[in-house]
């Protein structure tokens, strides 16, 4: 298993800052497996979800996947709306 950095963004992931978020997040798009710790992400809307979906798509294309951790309840709920809550691993799960 590759050793990789766990990404830990801070702030919201919404339409308001989607461009900046994408600028940061797109840098990791070469890696097949990415882990994003959402503890410090306060709020996600569809713009943020789209970015996560794209990241996930990129990972899968390379045979890997995206994993999300420490999602707050509100973040979990929007992930669930989009059927993406499978990406979320609980705090006790192995990375």
């Amino acid at each position: 298993m590759d050793v990789h950095q766990i990404e830990k963004p801070v702030g919201e992931w919404t339409i308001n800052n989607a461009e900046q978020i994408w600028e940061q997040a797109s840098k990791g798009c070469g890696l097949p497996r990415r882990v994003i710790d959402l503890e410090k992400v306060s709020d996600i809307d569809t713009a943020g979800i789209q970015i996560l979906a794209l990241i996930d798509h990129q990972c899968r294309r390379k045979g890997g996947r995206l994993e999300l951790t420490n999602a707050s309840d509100s973040v979990r709920s929007i992930l669930a709306l989009y059927g993406m809550d499978e990406l979320v691993k609980g705090p006790t799960d192995e990375l």
Binding site: D45, I49, H57, I78
Partner: protein, 694 residues
């Protein structure tokens, strides 16, 4: 034009168009390829849709759009107007009428209407997709019934505009409408092409089938603009489902539906009808917004204004009669001539004004095609309607008020008159029963007949019931005709089962009363096993009549001129007395019963030496009215009698003569009946209600 006026115009125009649509649909059912009618039908719905759009009536617009789409395809010859399609279109027409009312009242649709909206849209969609009747119910069987299916491709700018598809999903989830959803992100494959603020979301949704059209509308309200939204009503047909995913392969469709938990293709095979593309949008070429055919140059007139005009004409007639008297008294040649010219013109104005109020009864008759069609389906009997004399004209008010009594008579004929197919076959009759509406003029009246070729009235049962109710004394002997007429007595329904159409025992007497309130009469003829005929007689005009003025004692009476046959002098010797109390004379070999108005109206002055008889007729019977002096023809305006006087026998109205005196207008039908009864041996005293002779 202020807004309320505009709305009122919209209402009356729409109702007219809807009536026209009904007629056209019934006619098209018989001749489904009639291009002219199809075009007229399309124009009608197009106009309603357009006008509704101007007012922002979105519910109306939305629904009529589907109907218009279907009619467009009918116009192109792609869809034929079979019985099923006509049935759906007729129901749609009814629904549109309800939508128009709701939009104008600004009220919410009640649950039944919303349900009907969804059902009709589904059926219209089924026809548009070429489904045959059996599959109209949808591609899914009971077990796997699918609710509303929706696909949305959100517009690129949605997020930048401050909307969020997540809100839709949340709303659907919270309201319990959401059954299943699957989101797709159509993000570009190259990361550097990705525009993070664009919305790349596509949603496939299954929504609870119990949701109403309105709830669906509300849910998607904010996303209708800028997004590609496709919604299929509950339990869609196979074709409809395919049209939701128009640009996808069957495999893709299957995959997407399975993601929603929907089995595809459905377990029960769908239609084998050819694939149709999604319903077309606006029809590009129509004849413009004003749909009226150019051949009819009509004017929309306020009924009140017309009534005022006719009132004025009435006053003019009276004033004319007054100047007439003066001119005659002065006996000035030039004045008499000039006055006669004026009176001639007044007569013409009178006739023209009254004719403005005349409408052809054909309009009323043609509404019955729909009634007969629907009711015959309801009763499971095959019944056809034959209409004759539609060009017969009568006063507008009469036409409006005669509708209800006619409706009752037609329903009676269909319900009780026409036998079941079995019975008809057994008696050697053609299986389809016939109900006939016929109208014609006869001696100053208009006659309307409602007849059927059914089983005829059961005279025995009628007599039984009448005896049981005490309407007829146990030992009283009645002729067949008199028994038949008993059906007009209150409380005398003899129908075996009280169907919900008629036969509650309050029908025929109400019919009679309604007709009598129009100064008309109704009678019935029947023959066992052959059928029944109801005959309605109505006066031609309500307002002004030509009359024959007579004097009896101190009073003046007016006899409607169109019922006068002749006048003869009566010498004492010519009178004969038949059975006690009856009076008749020998009129050139004919027995003519007569009434002495002097006695009937209890005039105080002693009778004259020389009397005159005015021979009148009505409904095929004649009678003589003995009067003192003949005064000649007059034109009079009928003033209705106040309520206090309405039960008076032999009198139907009053009028003001040129001299200013009041004269009473005689009710000739009543008087003829009284004379006939008296002569036959019944009581000569007048009854307070009249029944009419055949």
């Amino acid at each position: 034009m202020n807004f309320d006026e505009a709305k009122a115009t919209f209402l009356s125009e729409s109702k007219e168009l809807l009536e026209e649509m009904e007629t056209l649909l019934i006619e098209l059912e018989q001749s489904p390829k009639d291009e002219e009618r199809i075009n007229a039908l399309f124009r009608a719905i197009h106009t309603i849709k357009g006008s509704g759009g101007v007012f922002g009536f979105s519910r109306l617009e939305g629904f009529t759009h589907q109907v218009e789409t279907l009619l467009d395809r009918v116009r192109d010859g792609e869809i034929t107007l079979d019985s099923r399609t006509v049935g759906v279109l007729l129901r749609s027409r009814d629904h549109i009428s309800r939508l128009v009312d709701a939009e104008l009242d600004g009220t919410e649709l009640d649950p039944a209407t919303r349900q009907e909206d969804a059902v009709l849209l589904s059926e219209l969609g089924a026809i548009l997709s070429g489904q045959s009747a059996g599959e109209a119910q949808g591609a899914f069987d009971e077990a796997s019934r699918v609710g509303w299916l929706a696909t949305i491709r959100f517009g690129r700018d949605v997020l930048r505009n401050g909307l969020d598809p997540a809100a839709l999903l949340r709303y659907l989830g919270q309201t319990g409408l959401l059954v299943a959803s699957k989101a797709y992100f159509s993000t570009p494959s190259e990361p550097n092409e990705f525009q993070p603020t664009d919305c790349h979301v596509e949603l496939d949704l299954v929504i609870d089938g119990a949701a109403s059209q309105e709830e669906i509308d509300n849910a998607f309200e904010f996303f209708r603009e800028d997004c590609e939204l496709n919604i299929a009503p509950p339990n869609p047909s196979e074709e409809t489902v395919r049209s939701l995913f128009a640009d996808r392969t069957p495999e893709e469709i299957a995959e997407r539906l399975s993601q929603l938990g929907v089995d595809w293709p459905p377990a029960v095979p769908g239609a084998t009808a050819p694939a149709e593309s999604a319903p077309s949008g606006e029809s590009p070429s129509t004849n413009g917004i004003t749909a009226r055919s150019g051949t009819n140059r009509t004017l929309r007139i306020d009924a009140e204004k017309l009534d005022r005009l006719i009132n004025l004409v009435g006053e003019l007639v009276i004033a004319g009669a007054s100047t007439d008297l003066i001119a005659q008294r002065l006996n000035d040649e030039t004045l008499l001539e000039a006055n006669s010219m004026v009176n001639r013109l007044v007569e013409e104005i009178r006739d023209t004004a009254l004719r403005l109020r005349m409408v052809q009864i054909g309009e009323t008759f043609s509404r019955f095609h729909r009634v007969v069609r629907d009711v015959s389906k309801e009763l499971g009997k095959e019944i056809r309607l034959v209409v004759a004399g539609g060009e017969t004209e009568l006063d507008k008010t009469v036409v409006e008020k005669i509708g209800d009594p006619l409706m009752h008579l037609v329903r009676n004929a269909m319900d009780h008159g026409i036998e079941t197919a079995e019975e008809r076959r057994k008696s050697g009759k053609p299986v389809p029963g016939t109900v006939t509406l016929n109208a014609y003029h006869d001696s100053g009246s208009i006659v309307i007949e409602v007849s059927d070729d059914g089983r005829g009235l059961n005279l025995e049962r009628i007599l039984e019931k009448a005896r049981a109710n005490g309407v007829v004394a146990a030992n009283q002997q009645l002729t067949d005709q008199e028994i038949a007429r008993l059906i007009f007595e209150p409380g005398l329904s003899t129908a075996q089962s009280v169907s919900n159409l008629s036969g509650r025992g309050v029908g025929m007497d109400v019919v009679k009363r309604n007709i009598e309130s129009l100064r008309g009469t109704v009678d019935v003829e029947t023959a066992a096993g052959e059928g029944t005929k109801a005959v309605i007689r109505l006066p031609l005009t309500l307002a002004i009549i030509d009359g024959f003025l007579v004097r009896v004692g101190q009073s003046a009476y007016v006899i409607p001129l169109d019922m006068v046959l002749e006048c003869i002098e009566m010498a004492d010797a010519e009178r004969s007395s038949g059975k006690a109390g009856s009076h008749y004379i020998n009129l050139r070999g004919e027995v003519l019963p007569y009434l002495t108005l002097h006695d009937l109206f209890e005039e105080e002055a002693p009778p004259q030496e020389r009397e005159n008889i005015v021979v009148v007729h009505h409904g095929g019977q004649k009678a003589g009215l003995v009067v003192d002096t003949l005064l000649g023809e007059v034109q009079t305006v009928i003033k209705p009698l106040g309520k206090v006087f309405q039960r008076l026998v032999g009198i139907s109205g009053a009028t003001i003569l040129g001299s200013g005196d009041v004269a009473v207008i005689l009710d000739v039908p009543q008087l003829v009946q009284i004379a006939a009864d008296a002569q036959r041996g019944g009581s000569p005293a007048a009854r307070s209600t009249a029944s009419v002779i055949q």
